[in-house]
């Protein structure tokens, strides 16, 4: 799980162009949206593209999206639960 969380942090920084951030700056428990990293709607969509492209996983409803994309931990959990991590 640790490895997956680390990998996710690196991938998030890459796909969201957070060039001024380092993985160690991202708290895996913290919310990604509104507070925490303060990501926006385009970022949310990009993360769903990441899930599909790298992990072959689809998010089916906005409600599911809110849960899965809440934090790095929830993302990692979603990937593990679907046996992709």
């Amino acid at each position: 799980m640790e490895q997956l969380v680390q990998k996710l942090k690196e991938e998030i920084i890459t796909v969201l162009n957070l060039s001024e951030m380092k993985p160690e700056n991202i708290d895996e428990k913290a919310p990604l949206f509104i507070d925490g990293l303060g990501l926006d709607s385009i970022d949310a969509l990009e993360l769903t593209v990441l899930l599909e492209k790298k992990y072959g996983l689809k998010i089916n409803t906005p409600e599911e999206g809110k849960k899965v994309l809440y934090s790095v931990n929830s993302l990692a959990q979603f990937i593990r639960e679907n046996n992709k991590g």
Binding site: N17, L18, M21, V49
Partner: protein, 212 residues
């Protein structure tokens, strides 16, 4: 009564050089476009992380405007909805268009990206400038083969004379492959400045555009 307009500032990014009001402020000759833009961003200590999400056209227009506006204080001298942004280029958003096309080139690897697609509209650079500088006024993006000083010299006064803007960020911001250039002017009414750098005329506009 039509007020005289002046160029109160100008900034050029071209051939890896940043020239502001005729003065060379920065150069990075060995780099490619993206490296140059990033190096300039760091050099001028812009400190705006969203910069890294922008495409090359937006980075270019945004950066040129940031340097142009530094120390100009336009936000305290003009109401936000009285500052207009009128830009033009030749290639529209072709760089981002190509990038978006790559994401859909193969049905086996079909992952269109919203953060790329949003930049396939050239006017988005105006949006980026407005967000950073809290500008709400008139915005327009024209596409023309070459920078046309006559067009700007004729059109801008109409915006000022018809009470549409009191201040304008105007110019050319173009990216196509490894070629890029950005020449952006700050235009104000002469009576609102201490004279400005030059009158906003065809010959002065052209003179700024062609100088290195």
């Amino acid at each position: 009564m039509n007020d005289q307009l002046v160029i109160s500032g100008f900034c050029t990014l071209r051939q890896h050089r940043v020239v502001h009001n005729g003065k060379l402020l920065f150069e990075d000759p060995g780099s490619n476009t993206v490296e140059f833009l990033t190096a300039a961003y760091n050099h001028f200590r812009i400190s705006y992380p969203k910069f890294h999400k922008m495409d090359q056209l937006a980075k270019l227009g945004f950066l040129t405007t940031e340097i142009l506006l530094k120390d100009t204080d336009i936000n305290s001298r003009y109401k936000a909805d009285r500052i207009g942004i009128i830009l033009a280029n030749s290639s529209s958003s072709l760089e981002s268009d190509r990038n978006h096309q790559k994401t859909i080139a193969s049905r086996d690897n079909y992952f269109p990206s919203p953060s790329v697609f949003v930049y396939t509209l050239p006017n988005v650079v105006i949006g980026e400038i407005c967000i950073k500088n809290k500008i709400n006024g008139e915005g327009n993006f024209f596409v023309m083969e070459r920078f046309d000083p006559l067009f700007f010299a004729n059109y801008l006064p109409q915006l000022f004379n018809n009470d549409i803007v009191d201040c304008s960020i105007t110019g050319w911001t173009e990216v196509n492959g490894n070629d890029y250039e950005s020449v952006i002017f700050l235009i104000e009414k002469k009576k609102h400045t201490d004279g400005g750098i030059a009158n906003f005329t065809v010959s002065e506009i052209e003179s700024v555009y062609i100088r290195k």
